[in-house]
Symmetry: C2
Subunit: 313 residues, 2 copies
Amino acid sequence: MSILVVGSVAFDSIETPSGKRERVLGGAATHFALAASYFTEVRVIGVVGEDFLPEHEAVLTRRGIDTRGIERAAGKSFHWTGSYVQDLNSAETLATDLNVFATFAPKIPTEYLDAEYLFLANIDPVLQARVRSQMPMVKMVCGDTMNYWIGSHLENLKKVLKELDVLLINDGEARMLSGESNAVRAAEKVMAMGPKCLVVKHGEYGATGFFSERAFGGGEKKLRPFRAPALPLEDVVDPTGAGDSFAGGFYGYLASQPKLTPSAFRTAMFYGGVMGSFAVERFGTERLQDVSRAEIDERFRLFREISHLDTEA
Amino acid sequence: MSILVVGSVAFDSIETPSGKRERVLGGAATHFALAASYFTEVRVIGVVGEDFLPEHEAVLTRRGIDTRGIERAAGKSFHWTGSYVQDLNSAETLATDLNVFATFAPKIPTEYLDAEYLFLANIDPVLQARVRSQMPMVKMVCGDTMNYWIGSHLENLKKVLKELDVLLINDGEARMLSGESNAVRAAEKVMAMGPKCLVVKHGEYGATGFFSERAFGGGEKKLRPFRAPALPLEDVVDPTGAGDSFAGGFYGYLASQPKLTPSAFRTAMFYGGVMGSFAVERFGTERLQDVSRAEIDERFRLFREISHLDTEA
């Protein structure tokens, strides 16, 4: 089934211990869409400037991604400049040039209105809420956010949280949003704000999923959490977009399943880790552009092997 | 088969957000021995003072632990005072009174010499090496250490590392010992120092095992790593001894197995997490004293369920 994603389509200038790249295609919606495109149909809503050329659009359309919702505006595209030279686990933002993104007002093409799955990437919660309200019939809503919105736009964010089936955030964001340092109590507090499921990402340690029976048509009862591994990687070339790629693999797999079951959620968390592990192997979206479905399946088996007791040898 | 453990038998005064306890039985060898005692025979070598009463010894002997190697010396037992009030994940040491431990010279009773498995708990590497040399016939040697020995006694520690089949340390210690921030490269460097297997503990995120074929009679080839989960816990009463309890569950299970296989190692890592999760539920060794084998098996199943794709529902 089809996913509609709203979020940034941008250019990134990135420095890591492995090297430097200027103005490579990036943005949360781009990474998400590429990762999800290996599992299901994806439609993108975003805004770009005059510097977004046919060659950039082709990166998406080659993967079958529907780009009709990417609006062209006068001026330059959103441009992020960051460095991981000090710490591969944490980006140092050197510049955020919002450009055409500063006045982004998402418009949903009529051809997009029948999408069953909505992904609200990390943008202003006011925009997330606006898109959500224009898609009343979706089967499922999944969202991301970041410390900036939690710290400075909490009331707006809380309105979005009420609408979410699944929230994907990292450890620090879960602590900040809940005011709780204990991971289990933090998850409970966050889920009390709305999300029926919470996936907390732990970077190199994988992710933990928390579920309420509400997610599967039941009551408030908590189900047991689930731990998905991350692959121990010898070489991380560029962590940019790893979280969005996780989200794309996770939600893409879910949208490809006939039924939302706890088992589908667990498998989706594994595919999230798989797509995140590919994303960091090269700069920008390079690896996500050319990975094959066979490689994805092979890595899924590897994730299973490194975490399951009943594997060979 | 029988494990010989050498390490501290001590009293701990502990403050955590859950409360305060004065002079409860603790020490690395105590936590290790109690955790391992649910899987196999355990013999302890350590030293205590005149404050170590029959009631303290009974904590060990009730679990069938052989205490004939615990030497009585004039003076007081090792006493550690620590607080987790600021941060449950990291102990603040308020006082370390070595007392009789300051002049500890491990002596191995002749009845202990046929132990097949040796565990060198976190003590001066000079003492670890001395015990190891007195047990030339053991089938397997597993060891622990800490930042203090890595920082100030590295040359002595390196002699011990050459003798180890398995080293159990945490993330920070692996980084410090290797000078590498990448976990995979850190593991390779540490294993090049001697250990055939390395288990790196990640606290609330579980543990990663790294293996060389040397561990199973093969060559230098690396096997794929293994990720074992930790249980997301709502209430951590006292983290003291969690790492030693992990080691006890891990090594106790290994020593109970007829053959050292990769599969046995993976299962051992799960049992390590299981025993660590019990240890933190109450102060000191309280929980490790009265857990039942049925509870251990039940929690093992839970660890499997929260990390495996093919579980029910």
